[in-house]
Amino acid sequence: MFGKFPFFLFLIFISFSSHAQTCELKILGKVVDKNSLKSIEFASVYVEELVQGTVSDFSGNFEIKNLCPGEYHLVVRHIGCETQNVLFTLTSDTLWTVYVEHGSQLLNEVTVENHAQESKSQELEVLSSKDINRQLSKNLGQALENISGVSAIKNGNGVAKPVVHGLYGNRLTILNNGIAQSGQQWGFDHAPEIDPLLANRITVIKGVGAVEFMGNSLGSVILVEPKKIEKEPHLHGMARYFFNSNGLGNGVNVELQQYHKWLAWKVNGTLKKSGDAKTPDYFLTNTGIEEYNFAVELEKQITAKWTTNLYYSSFNTKIGILRGSHVGNLTDLKAAFESEQPFFTQKEFSYDIQNPRQEVNHHLFKASSKYLFSEQAWIEFVYAKQLNYRKEFDVRRGDRDDMPALSLDQESDFFEAKFHYYFKNEWHLKAGFQTNRVNNQNIPETGILPLIPNYLTTERGGFLIAARDFEKMKLEFGARVEEEVRKVASISNTVPRKVLNFENRYLNYTASLGMLYTFSEQFSMNYNVGFATRNPEVNELYSNGLHQGVSGIEEGDINLSSENAIKNTLSFTTKKKDRLFVEVLIYHQYIQDYIYLQAQDEFRLTIRGAFPVFRYEQADAQIYGLDLVTKYQINEKWLTELNYSFIQGNEIDDNTALINLPSNSILSTTSFQIPQVKSLKNVELEMIHKYVFEQTNITKDQDFVVPPDGYYLLGFRASAEKQFKSIRLGGHVGVENALNAKYRDYLNRQRYFADEVGRNLTVGAVVSF
């Protein structure tokens, strides 16, 4: 895939003179396009130690003269590419060729891949965090939202979980630094506990690339990866700050790293706080967020062939849930929907977080060790432990506000051994096995019958991937088998209460075949087909009772069987020089025994009134759609992009539309770019249009209220960079929902109660040294 190396800068150093002269050394350089080998002008090269730089000329050449032997920090910049820093140890005159994938700005920073290839650019870890830096205030779900084929399912603005090709939660694996995120994945209101600012690269695998990873994915995988510690003996760091006018949100993130001979280290920390967001008409009372995250990474090169890495990250958040979205029964829900503004709306802004609120802590500890037998073969061992604590507080009677209504602890232990082997004849083999143990328990402090039972799951799996590169084609085949044993201890909902024990055993299979065929420089095709099974989750089997948040009685079914899915994706990519990029991806997923909540023809009487009953049922279903990504570089200064996502899904038997599928959407960005304005570099002005269509497939009887109308959002953003000696400063200002549009989104549960957030001015700054 072209999407493999966005913002690709590849460096080759060639010594052409061995006699060092005192302070008369020079670097002769040339910047060329990686694909066309055409020279690139106006790329800037800056030497921090000299506090001066140069710009490549018409034929891409540049020259830095009068250098003493020693170390130099060089900064290479080209519009659209992430600024790259290189430590240069100069002993002699050096010829330096900088390969820039010039067309790379035609690709998304958040890489969209259709195929999990092994040819990862580990040695070229210069993949930028440009896009993450542009949306510093966003959580993971929001950050991914603008990718074609990806959306977010939300409960208000603070809780967003990513949706890829219509699947989310238990059906989508999210890997945090290579480890499948282990937390409460069910429901609308549990967002992944990952700070995107700890990552430098987020990858969405849309096809069936999940063979290598443990988890229940029915296809897509999201990889959140921190950047490797740069092999750089000096202390380097970065500080980032953001401000949001809507909700008066502020956040800082600091990262420091150093590659010592005896130990490489990196630390990263984030602090965020925001208050009540505001729709065009009213404050969304109690929608503040507080968050503090921390990560530390240590890497030790034990021998030339053996590297060990330790990583710890901690994610901690407190999220307010819109006060007016807490309802007692169906009458309340209807009243809330008919009300002009949500109940309990305050006239004043506040940072206070009252009930209902969530407090979530997630800790990940990872130890990995990699041993290279040779350049072609290595083995890697990983151990990871995750601790996930979730407490949800409701509005309750008496002095029970500090008593959580839901309190779950989850502990998981993961072990993995992976073996890679590159044969000389272009074959590449990868095999491995994993074990995972998840212990989920309710902390008995709620005074409420738990919604999710206690359980202990043991998973064991193994995989094999074989890949081969031909001249014009890459082929990859993978298979995986996984056993899951789950022991469940739940509490009866009849009196006298007693403990009920269950045991489930499942065998899950995954197989995938991927093919990338390159017809020419300009045209390529990617086909991926995969089969996957997913066993029913605990909530689907054992839920029983009133889910007050959704005003319904949810009933699990202990007889549910596993889902079997076949997904086909086919994409065509056209790339015309560095001008035009078009990618069309079509996909179809057939899911046998798709598990979903079906409204029953039945109301159940409780003391709060009658509630509709929803039962987990199974039916054969299909989801299909199209993702279109086009980028056109009109000239040196103008770049325009257009993304379109179309998705549809239904039950095969009766054509009933599947609920909670994203609406179709169009996103268009037009940017005006200037490499240099006075002392400002990479000046960029953008205009962003987004249109989300009405979800018209849902019928009236499938939901309490009909899906909201389509909506249009307009945004602007201006960004620039500036260099002060060895400090680089980047910044942006922008406005989201510039027209202050009043709208609701189908995938946001808060739509029953309130409008979406109105106009928001954003400011972001990145300082790095």
Binding site: T303, W306, V327, D332, R397, F433, N442, P444, N493, K498
Partner: protein
Amino acid sequence: MKTKLLYVFLAMALFACKEDDENEPVAPVIPNEEEVITTVRYTLTPSGGGTVKVFQFQDLDGDGGNMPVISGDTLDLNRSYTGSLEFFNELETPADTITNEVLEEGDEHQVFYQNTSGDFVVAYTDTDRNGNPIGLSTTFESRTAGGLLTVILRHEPNKTATGVPGGDITNAGGETDIEVVFPVNVR
């Protein structure tokens, strides 16, 4: 060196693979469901004496599980009663009287009485610390027609909104803690 390391790794792998099927999940602690309301009882005592009428909604296992049991009663024609509304949690032994909790937080609660026939007249006789009605104590007048009486307990309603102090739920907002319907006969 290389082989030694490999042995270490293999040992780690085997260790990670060891059979741990005998492990069990943490035994759940059956919660003390002190907040649950299982029973709503509306007692009508006729003025001037006579048989006390009792209307009761009882769901002994809480939400879900078995169906609740609802019992109505028959009132006299054109009679005045003193109404008393009580809430219990019968999951506890002895049964816990939730009415006290509601009374203590009277300013955060209000009971609303609605009827289909319009032939019952319910009036509040109690007040919270702000002088607004709570609705646990009432007067009840029957006329000639029977019908359905709906009793609603709202948590954190807007007690000063238009009509609310008079018992009109329309502008009350808040969350419904209780909504039960009693059949009322008049003879």
